[in-house]
């Protein structure tokens, strides 16, 4: 009983951490620009696919991993410069379609370049599972959780203790006021796309040794990251992390105890319930309209 429960919990927290990273990416961009970036999932895919590509090209693993984070970050910045900045202030529908278009371009290019095969990456520190109270835990899960925790702490530090971070927060509260006090909001936009892409890519790299990767994994991972961000109250960083973990755990428990065929449906059932009963998300604040 306990072993089974722990087993589901471990796999839930692991995949939940990836959703949390994706949800943080959604949150960063949403706060900087009110854009819901539907290309976020493709950054996750890019991270995993590029890590595989660079390591198979013979680069040492750490170099391959750094490149697999840097390249998506550059892609994110290019996306922002070419497609988001020129239409600043457009209707949300327009912005959503642009990011959906971007996701198709990225996915299509990877499909043409690397093909439709499924790839894997060796685990960072071996495949010998740890035994904990009868449940098994892969060492890679510890990597996922450890690095996610470090990222969350680093982000907290960035937003609360550095000038750039505070500028980003100020922009998310009130763009015009931020501009008035001399914050370069274009730079904030730039930074938030680079950071979200890097976060997504990091998640994609970390999870690849556990779940494999292919050109189309970004769709589901991205959508679930979006669910996690909304569960946490869109725009709330801590909420995004908790939302990610919650979605991951719920999915694993649902797959284990209810039906594995409906595993992918769980996050979406959750989001409908939350929208019905707690529409601001679990951790979202109240909002008011100015007329």
């Amino acid at each position: 009983m306990l072993a089974e429960f722990l087993q589901f919990l471990f796999s839930g927290i692991t995949v939940g951490a990836i959703y949390a990273l994706a949800a943080l990416g959604f949150t960063l961009i949403y706060n900087a620009s009110n854009v819901i970036n539907f290309a976020q999932g493709e950054f996750i895919m890019l991270g995993g696919m590029l890590a595989v590509y660079f390591s198979q090209a013979g680069l040492p693993l750490p170099v391959a991993l750094v490149l697999a984070i840097l390249v998506p970050a550059i892609v994110g910045v290019v996306l922002e410069k070419l497609a988001i900045e020129p239409v600043k202030g457009a209707e949300p529908v327009t912005l959503i379609i642009i990011t959906i278009g971007a996701s198709l371009v990225i996915r299509g290019l990877i499909q043409v370049w690397l093909g439709k095969n499924t790839f894997s990456l060796p685990a960072f520190s071996g495949d010998v599972p740890l035994q904990i109270l009868g449940a098994t835990l892969m060492p890679q899960s510890l990597w996922v959780l450890g690095i996610t925790a470090i990222v969350v702490v680093a982000l907290w530090y960035f937003f609360n203790r550095t000038l750039h971070g505070k500028a980003m927060l100020a922009t998310s509260f009130n763009r015009v006021a931020a501009e008035l006090v001399g914050i370069n909001t274009n730079w904030v936009l730039f930074l938030s796309f680079a950071m979200s892409a890097a976060l997504g890519a990091l998640g994609g790299i970390l999870v690849t040794p556990l779940t494999l990767t292919s050109y189309d994994v970004g769709i589901m991972l991205g959508l679930k990251g979006f669910v996690a961000a909304v569960v946490g109250g869109l725009g709330n960083g801590l909420g995004a992390v908790l939302g990610g973990l919650l979605v991951g755990i719920l999915e694993a428990m649902g797959a284990g105890y209810i039906s594995s065929a409906y595993k992918d449906a769980m996050p979406f059932v959750l989001i409908l319930l939350i929208l019905f009963f707690m529409p601001r998300g679990l951790f979202g604040g109240k909002s008011t309209d100015r007329v």
């Binding site: 529908v93 371009v105 979006f226 669910v227 019905f276 529409p279």
Partner: protein
């Protein structure tokens, strides 16, 4: 408003009348039928996006609802196809109402999220419940007959779909100029202002969402009968995106834009097949470019340029 808002309708009807005599072979007739089917779905979706200012990212789910009602009810329960079609539309409308009511009280992207979730759940259900739906492989749809007259073959379907399209365009034009339509437009202009003049915002938004869901379900049934087979792809996320794209490219809140968007994007995959493997890239690039350079969509942009209203 232009001098005669029905001018476009006459042009569409004229084209529909002439088309079957000039199309070289059944491949093009099939393409024309699919364009017309998409145009009707997009008309319904555009009422929601263009007038209520809300996005549905799960509209293919409603399409799938109708398609599977048409396939499953007659096959497993012996229902009459028309009854199945009506049941699908009513059920889709009811589902839309249940989902929309709490969500329209919120502002922002929440309907997008809810419809996205709903669409994905519907898709997973039809993929999983294979004993009823045939699972990922899909299932055949029994033929439809009206009063002993079986509708089969391209010709029958072409005229049926052409009729449905003409009526839909006519009805949409009339609706936009009705009190209901004016309320919707006011809503898109300023929600607060329309509240102040007494428009029940939530009720109107729910009504338009239910209507567009029923449109989609009905056309899903038509598609299922026409193709003679349903697969879960009809109800997947990508198809929902395609439908939204048709709305946006043609022009939000533009009746004729819906038709143009549907025609262009239905033809696009055919035009792109020669690009072997690059279709997705090209599709995505077209989406991005048209939104960056023509955010209002094709028809409103062009008609503004040539100096007449839409």
């Amino acid at each position: 408003m232009s001098k005669n808002p029905y001018l476009g309708l006459y042009i569409i009807m004229a084209v529909l009348l002439v088309l079957p005599f000039v199309l070289p072979n059944s491949f093009y007739v099939d393409l024309a039928i699919r364009m017309a089917i998409n145009a009707v779905i997009v008309l319904g979706l555009n009422l929601l996006i263009g007038f209520a200012g809300q996005i549905s990212l799960g509209h293919a789910g409603f399409l799938g609802f109708g398609a599977y009602a048409t396939a499953v009810l007659p096959t497993h329960f012996g229902w009459h196809p028309l009854l199945a079609m009506a049941a699908g539309a009513v059920a889709a409308g009811a589902l839309a109402a249940i989902v929309a009511r709490p969500i329209f009280k919120l502002k922002g992207h929440y309907l997008a999220m809810a419809t996205l979730g709903l669409g994905i759940i519907i898709n997973i259900v039809v993929r999983t419940e294979a004993q009823w739906t045939g699972g990922p492989d899909g299932m055949p749809v029994p033929a439809m007959s009206l009063a002993g007259f079986e509708i089969s073959g391209d010709k029958h379907w072409y005229w049926l779909v052409a009729l449905v399209l003409s009526v839909s365009v006519w009805a949409s034009l009339n609706m936009i100029n009705s009190p209901f339509g004016r309320a919707l437009r006011a809503l898109h202009g300023s929600e607060v202002a329309s509240k102040v003049v007494g428009v029940d915002v939530v009720r109107y938004k729910v009504a338009i969402f239910v209507l567009s869901a029923m449109f989609a379900s009905f056309m899903g049934s038509i598609t299922a009968h026409y193709v003679g087979f349903v697969t879960p792809n009809l109800a997947d996320f990508f198809h929902s995106i395609e439908l939204v794209t048709m709305v946006v490219i043609g022009g939000m809140a533009s009746v004729y834009g819906s038709v143009v968007g549907a025609v262009l994007l239905t033809a696009l995959p055919q035009a792109l097949t020669s690009f072997e493997g690059w279709e997705t890239v090209a599709f995505g690039a077209i989406l991005m470019l048209s939104m960056i350079f023509m955010p209002k969509g094709l028809v409103p942009t062009l008609s503004a340029r040539f100096g007449r209203g839409d």
